[in-house]
């Protein structure tokens, strides 16, 4: 994109920012400009470099090369405090508020005004000042209200008030509306309009393109760490943005596989849990990979957790190999042939402080137990653990002593695969199986998946990477705010259309109901 203010007059300017992590270039000469009172929309898929760019702006990372200027002066923050001092405020998706403290305490958390000469907080002053700030964002609660009692939207307003409290000149919103109701979003847009009128520059990051086009004066699209395009709002459309986001053709990263789907092994009908998923129906065949696409918060992981018996559901049925699955719990689901690779492998997938063997064996212990006391048969267990770990190519030979925390991300994920493979399940639920692992390890994960499918397993493949879904799946199901909004067949895959179905809420709600396929 050629910046509209090539002369360098813009209030905030970033030029040719580049950044690498561990030799991987995540940001390639990205630049943007922001005027006072301008709203700049920043869009791109996960991993496109948006957050890295914002982290550089916020002083969390330092760029390898490139410069930034703020109000005509060079701007080189080395930490979040520098950014705040310079007048930049970040309003994150996960709000950084202390729920146990009051609004006023949150607003002043980074510097309480003291009573003169005493180490005591000047309560009256912060109360008065907070009241003034809350009026600016139309929040009527008394400053002493505990933040825990506020709704998501109200909390966001508190964050904005906090930013106004230290006189922010630039406010950066990261996915501000994902957890807001429609009405709360409308209110937010009004406030953004007001910030604009006050001459505050706003960077608005969002997946919801309809919102972006509505509130932003100009849009910039990032893809693979580089600027893919952009321009003033008048020149942009949703279709145009999406084609910029998806861009390149799917490469050869995905090993080819023949697909011969068999019997339906997992059938879900009308699965509903209020506030989480609504009327989800799907059927999964053996020898098939069914992809699940959607934005963060679309209910994909939640669906997976319900299917594996970790979370409850209110109505609907789950059928596994023609038998209904009643009162599912992980133990019951495992007995019925399900396996679940969780999204967060550190928190839920692995025992980081335990050995590879202990991790791989964990789900299968009962099959190696003998007699009344359930005594373990170690030699057999060790042999099988070694065999299955070799099969997925875990890169070490010391399974018994090597702790999982010392392995690379890719190897850790292989350990999780090995854990489930040892049980020989027939249905795999994979939630972001390649998150945070390098390209080589990704390829190996794809190979494992393909082998499983060839052996007749059925796979529910949740991923936020469109290319991965297109490259690996036989069908792709799209979810949006807890509902299934479409199915796409292989051969008919079109990244732009899939993204459209994933992002469509609020934008074209009436159409979407018609398009729902079953």
């Amino acid at each position: 994109m050629t910046p509209p203010h090539a002369g360098g007059e813009a209030f905030l300017q970033a030029r040719e920012l580049s950044k690498s992590f561990f030799g991987v270039k995540v940001l390639k000469e990205v630049g943007f400009t922001l005027d006072k009172g301008e709203v700049l929309g920043l869009v791109g898929e996960n991993g496109s470099g948006k957050s890295t760019a914002m982290n550089i702006l916020g002083g969390i990372h330092q760029p390898d090369s490139g410069q930034m200027t703020l109000a005509g002066k060079p701007y080189r923050p080395t930490g979040p405090k520098d950014a705040q001092r310079a007048g930049l405020a970040f309003i994150h998706q996960e709000l950084n508020l202390f729920e146990n403290l009051s609004i006023e305490e949150n607003v002043f958390i980074s510097g309480f005004p003291k009573r003169r000469g005493l180490p005591l907080i000047n309560r009256r002053k912060i109360g008065k000042e907070t009241k003034r700030l809350l009026d600016l964002v139309d929040l009527g609660h008394p400053p002493g209200t505990r933040v825990g009692k506020l709704s998501q939207g109200e909390r966001q307003l508190v964050e904005i008030a906090k930013a106004l409290g230290f006189d922010a000149k630039v406010i950066i919103f990261d996915e501000p509306t994902t957890s807001l109701s429609r009405r709360e979003s409308e209110k937010l847009f009004t406030i953004v309009g007001r910030l604009k009128a006050q001459g505050i520059g706003v960077i608005y990051i969002s997946h919801i393109l309809g919102d972006v086009l509505r509130v932003c004066d100009s849009v910039q699209v990032l893809r693979d760490g580089a600027v893919a395009g952009g321009g003033p709002r008048a020149s942009m459309s949703i279709d145009k943005i999406i084609s910029m986001m998806v861009g390149r053709k799917i490469g050869n990263l995905f090993p080819p596989r023949e697909s011969h789907p068999g019997e339906v092994v997992l059938d879900v009908a009308g699965l509903t849990q209020p506030g989480v998923v609504k009327d989800v129906s799907l059927s999964l065949r053996s020898g098939e990979v069914l992809g699940v696409s959607g934005l963060m918060g679309a209910g994909r992981s939640e669906l997976a957790r319900i299917l594996f018996g970790l979370d409850p559901f209110k109505s609907g049925t789950i059928t596994v190999e023609r038998e209904p699955l009643e009162n599912p719990s992980p133990e019951i689901c495992m007995a019925r042939g399900l396996a679940f690779l969780t999204e967060d492998r550190r928190a839920e997938g692995l025992l980081m402080e335990a050995s590879i063997r202990d991790n791989v064996a964990l789900s299968s212990l009962n099959s190696y137990a003998r007699g009344l006391s359930h005594r373990l048969s170690w030699p057999k267990l060790d042999r099988d653990v070694a065999e299955v770990s070799d099969k997925v190519k875990v890169n070490t030979s010391d399974y018994i002593r090597m702790l999982v925390k010392h392995l690379s991300g890719g190897n850790q994920q292989k350990v999780v695969f090995a854990k489930w493979l040892l049980r020989q399940p027939s249905i795999f639920i994979l939630d972001e199986p390649t998150r945070g692992i390098d390209v080589g390890a990704k390829l190996e994960v794809y190979k494992i998946i393909n082998q499983l499918v060839l052996d007749g397993a059925a796979i529910l493949f949740i991923s936020s990477e469109m290319e991965e879904l297109i490259g690996m799946c036989d069908r792709i199901m799209v979810m949006n705010r807890g509902e299934v909004t479409g199915f796409h067949e292989r051969g008919d895959f079109d990244g732009e259309r899939i993204l459209e179905t994933a992002m469509s809420v609020g934008l074209r709600e009436p159409e979407q109901a018609d398009r729902k396929e079953r």
Binding site: E331, M334, F340, E348, L350, E353, A354, A361, N366, S373
Partner: protein
């Protein structure tokens, strides 16, 4: 780094290899999972010249018999600590089981006074009291999601009071005496010169060690202690296993209660009142982590041995009770400090 300096081949100085070897040995000792045994040994060797009596047969025998009740209850505690819990109610269990069991067996108006069933039923009553209280603790922790420290702390207070009330309802004095000879032998008697309590304790050690190291249940406990969420996703019946850990702790406390009640020949509500800290300290000094996921029965044996050795030495030195407390506190702090140092060395080695 000093280690690098020692590692460079230096030909002029002869003592360098020796220093290096000594440092290696020291690090190996500190890193050893049986560190507490070495410390106990060193402590013993230091105290020996000061109070030679400590090595006498009767003193050693005292150390052994003092150790047994503490060991059994500490073993139960080890199970709970491995799942990242804690069981402070054990002293309450010891008191309650003592008076309930005694009320059945006593010849002063016991429920089964003089009956042939008195002793077996009495023993079962001990175990049932322990198992039920442990089960209740586990139920509160798993079903009601209450923090173990609060559940068992209040349990300790409640049971302490309830045991006194129970005693008053069954005896004019503050304890229940008149226990059958055969029962008393469990705590104080000998068989072929060996204390019967030793057989009981060895049985508990063997069963507990087997459970933890050889069975599926044991693997589950460690997995839960390291990461309960991952354990749940992997199909481990997390709640059930935690519940059983508390039941085991309760039953072990009840066995300890039996040993102590037998030794005193009376059921009393003040039994075990002062040993709560010793129990936790012994397990932790042995190397079991309060954060869960790490612990072994043999470590707990070492921790108990260490504490009891200190106790015995201080008694022989003629120290008064408050000095015993002060010294014990200091030594425990030292031992825990050494463990922290060990963790640092381990982290360095792996980093």
């Amino acid at each position: 780094m000093p280690i690098d300096a020692a590692e460079t081949p230096v030909d002029t100085k002869v003592e360098i290899p020796k220093v290096r070897a000594f440092r290696r040995l020291l690090e190996r000792l500190i890193l050893s999972e049986y560190l507490v045994f070495y410390i106990t040994g060193v402590y013993f060797l230091i105290v020996w010249p000061i109070v030679p009596e400590i090595a006498s047969f009767s003193s050693l025998r005292n150390i052994l018999t003092d150790m047994l009740p503490l060991l059994v209850v500490a073993i139960g505690q080890t199970f709970v600590l491995i799942v990242a819990g804690i069981d402070l109610s054990v002293t309450g269990v010891i008191a309650m089981a003592s008076v309930v069991g005694a009320s059945i067996m006593t010849s002063d108006g016991g429920y089964l006074q003089g009956s042939a069933l008195a002793i077996p039923v009495g023993i079962i009553a001990f175990l049932v009291v322990g198992g039920l209280i442990g089960g209740f603790n586990g139920w509160c922790v798993t079903r009601l999601n209450m923090p173990p420290i609060i559940v068992t702390l209040t349990g300790m207070m409640f049971l302490g009071g309830a045991a006194i009330w129970f005693t008053k309802a069954h005896s004019p004095t503050s304890s229940i005496a008149g226990l059958p000879r055969a029962f008393v032998a469990i705590g104080g008697g000998t068989f072929a010169g060996v204390p019967i309590a030793l057989f009981v304790a060895i049985a508990v050690v063997v069963v507990a060690h087997f459970l933890l190291s050889q069975t599926v249940f044991g693997r589950w406990l460690y997995a839960i202690g390291i990461n309960p969420k991952a354990a749940k996703v992997s199909g481990v019946p997390v709640d059930k296993a935690i519940l059983w850990a508390f039941v085991i702790s309760g039953v072990c406390a009840a066995i300890t209660s039996m040993l102590l009640t037998g030794r005193l020949e009376t059921g009393t509500p003040v039994l075990g009142q002062r040993i709560l800290l010793d129990i936790i300290a012994a397990v932790v000094i042995g190397g079991t982590s309060l954060a869960g996921g790490k612990g072994k029965i043999i470590w707990t044996v070492g921790g108990v041995l260490f504490l009891v050795t200190i106790d015995a030495s201080l008694k022989l030195l003629g120290s008064s009770l408050f000095i015993v407390f002060a010294v014990k506190g200091g030594v425990i702090l030292l031992a825990v400090g050494l463990d922290a140092m060990r963790q640092r060395i381990l982290a360095r080695g792996s980093g």
